[in-house]
């Protein structure tokens, strides 16, 4: 689910419930005005300081422009999950080792837990939520569903984003190459064998 401030939803999400719709709409209007002002101002200082107080953050996530305010120390992962309600990417180790937070930045996979949100401005960010095309599930998560390639599923958004990025770069990737592409992702439930089956299915169907 991807309900950022300003979005309208028919159902009530956990976060939408917490934030309250009226306040969100007002905040969104304020943000837009601030954004216009920020982009209109010429830069006077080429060192470009920001913070430590919260600063305006605009990100392009799954093709949509989202805005909020964050302190400089907020990571891309926390900005996505806690400020923008893009919760596909998961927080597990928070130390660049498990891959649960994997997102694509300009087509390359990164650990969102180890990148500052401010560093991702102007980039094309894609998360597991992007793996739907015209209401149809992308072939990568489809293969995971077909092959029962998850147990708790907490690692899955990271794995599918890594695989999608690898297939986008090379739709003819071999199973070995796809396994290498997920070598920065860990599954604590150990569902690797089923993921191997999913990878074989993906290679047979050409990504």
């Amino acid at each position: 689910m991807n309900n950022s401030p300003g979005d309208r939803h028919d159902g009530v999400s956990r976060r939408g419930f917490l934030t309250g719709t009226g306040a969100v709409a007002a905040a969104a209007a304020g943000l837009q005005a601030e954004l216009k002002q920020a982009t209109a101002q010429p830069r006077v200082d080429d060192t470009n300081p920001m913070g430590p107080a919260p600063v305006l953050l605009q990100l392009t996530v799954n093709g949509r422009s989202l805005t909020t305010h964050v302190e400089p120390r907020v990571t891309l992962l926390d900005a996505l999950r806690n400020y923008l309600d893009v919760t596909g990417c998961k927080r597990v180790c928070d130390r660049a080792t498990c891959g649960a937070c994997t997102v694509m930045v300009n087509g390359r996979t990164v650990y969102a837990c180890t990148m500052l949100a401010l560093e991702a401005r102007g980039c094309d960010i894609r998360t597991a939520e992007a793996l739907v095309r015209g209401g149809k599930l992308d072939p990568v998560p489809t293969a995971f569903v077909d092959c029962d390639a998850q147990q708790c599923g907490f690692c899955t958004p990271g794995f599918v984003v890594s695989l999608r990025a690898a297939l986008d770069r090379n739709p003819r990737a071999t199973p070995e190459e796809l396994e290498a592409a997920v070598s920065g992702n860990i599954c604590r439930c150990g569902t690797y064998e089923q993921m191997r089956h999913a990878i074989v299915q993906l290679c047979q169907k050409g990504g």
């Binding site: 080429d46 060192t47 920001m50 400089p72 996979t109 990164v110 500052l116 560093e119 992702n185």
Partner: protein, 341 residues
């Protein structure tokens, strides 16, 4: 993580200006794969963080690979993945294979050359917020008689027995690299060996840069006579095939003259075995002027471990280092890797 003022300068002079004015209270942020981890653990608490992303796009010197082999310059902001995949760097498998071996795809997509060379060590005592080791103002290095299975084996004269963490340092050392270093008012070039030091107290790092200095680029310029063929390779011993730090690493470079098989101008460097990446003149001397084969490679490997003084839990690394040196030499010669069956 403690909060900070974030700077995203749009020019090199902007970066150097912030560093100069910060007087040691700033950290440079490249890919962040080391720095953010340290900040989350409160090992580093900079007041200012100076990002390189703002100017790495338009500013070619820090973000591009340029030149004509044998002389190629790599910007400090170049990502590990781009080193691994570079066409221009193909003559240097010692470097490209080492870059391709580092961690997993996400780290290689984020991490940079400058960050790899300037990162801090991974000793678990140093990385523990609650342990006051020698490098954090304490009185002793706990690894000496503590958990030290991944620590240094060349320990003599070292009060702190970390291993230098960079997997790119040994290949760059054997390829005769020099560093271009700049500060607000000055610029200097040093051989890459001089970039590293063994820290012994708080405030010292594993590199020799002053707090206001930026590593801008590294230039590879192996010394080979015209017409000669450069041969080079690296070999890492790891616990897992991917996504792991090397336990030991060896990089080798030498040249052969037209038609000949004799190794000349041999350079051998050892990684992850001492507080700095180590050149091994002893091993190089054994191979110099010899035809490369399993026998001469093994002899050089024996010489490489001379002087090793392992700790209580890491004598196994001595044997592994011999294996790494032997295999790196054989890989450089183009021999078929016998260990792959």
């Amino acid at each position: 993580m403690k909060n900070f003022t974030y700077y995203q300068p749009t020019s090199l002079s902007g970066v150097l200006k912030v560093l100069d004015e910060a007087a040691g209270k700033a950290e440079i942020l490249a890919g962040g794969t080391d720095l953010l981890d340290r900040m989350k653990e409160y090992i580093s608490q900079p007041e200012k963080v100076v990002s390189l992303v703002g100017f790495s796009g338009p500013f070619k010197e820090i973000s591009s690979i340029a030149g004509h082999p044998p002389t190629v310059t790599i910007g400090a902001g170049v990502k590990l993945v781009n080193i691994a995949e570079s066409e221009l760097l193909r003559p240097y498998p010692a470097l490209t294979s080492a870059a391709a071996q580092i961690a997993g795809p996400q780290i290689r997509n984020m991490g940079t050359l400058g960050g790899s060379l300037c990162q801090r060590n991974r000793c678990w005592y140093f990385r523990d917020e609650h342990v006051q080791c020698l490098l954090k103002g304490g009185r002793r290095c706990f690894a000496h008689d503590g958990e030290n299975q991944y620590h240094a084996i060349f320990t003599q004269g070292h009060p702190c027995v970390i291993v230098h963490p960079s997997t790119l340092a040994p290949p760059l050392m054997v390829l005769g690299a020099t560093c271009d270093i700049r500060s607000h008012k000055a610029q200097r070039q040093i051989p890459i060996e001089q970039l590293f030091q063994a820290p012994v107290k708080d405030g010292q790092r594993e590199h020799t840069l002053a707090p206001n200095e930026l590593l801008v680029s590294v230039t590879i310029a192996p010394k080979i006579p015209p017409g000669a063929t450069l041969r080079n390779a690296s070999y890492e011993v790891k616990q897992k095939e991917t996504s792991d730090w090397p336990i030991v690493q060896a990089s080798v470079a030498y040249y052969t003259e037209a038609g000949g098989q004799v190794a000349k101008g041999v350079r051998i460097a050892l990684g992850h075995v001492a507080p700095t990446p180590l050149l091994s003149p002893a091993a190089a001397k054994v191979l110099e002027g010899q035809e490369v084969n399993e026998k001469t490679a093994s002899a050089a490997a024996e010489a490489a471990v001379e002087g090793a003084r392992p700790l209580s839990q890491n004598a196994y690394k001595v044997q592994q280092l011999k294996v790494a040196v032997r295999r790196a030499i054989l890989l450089a010669s183009g021999a078929k890797p016998y260990w792959e069956g």
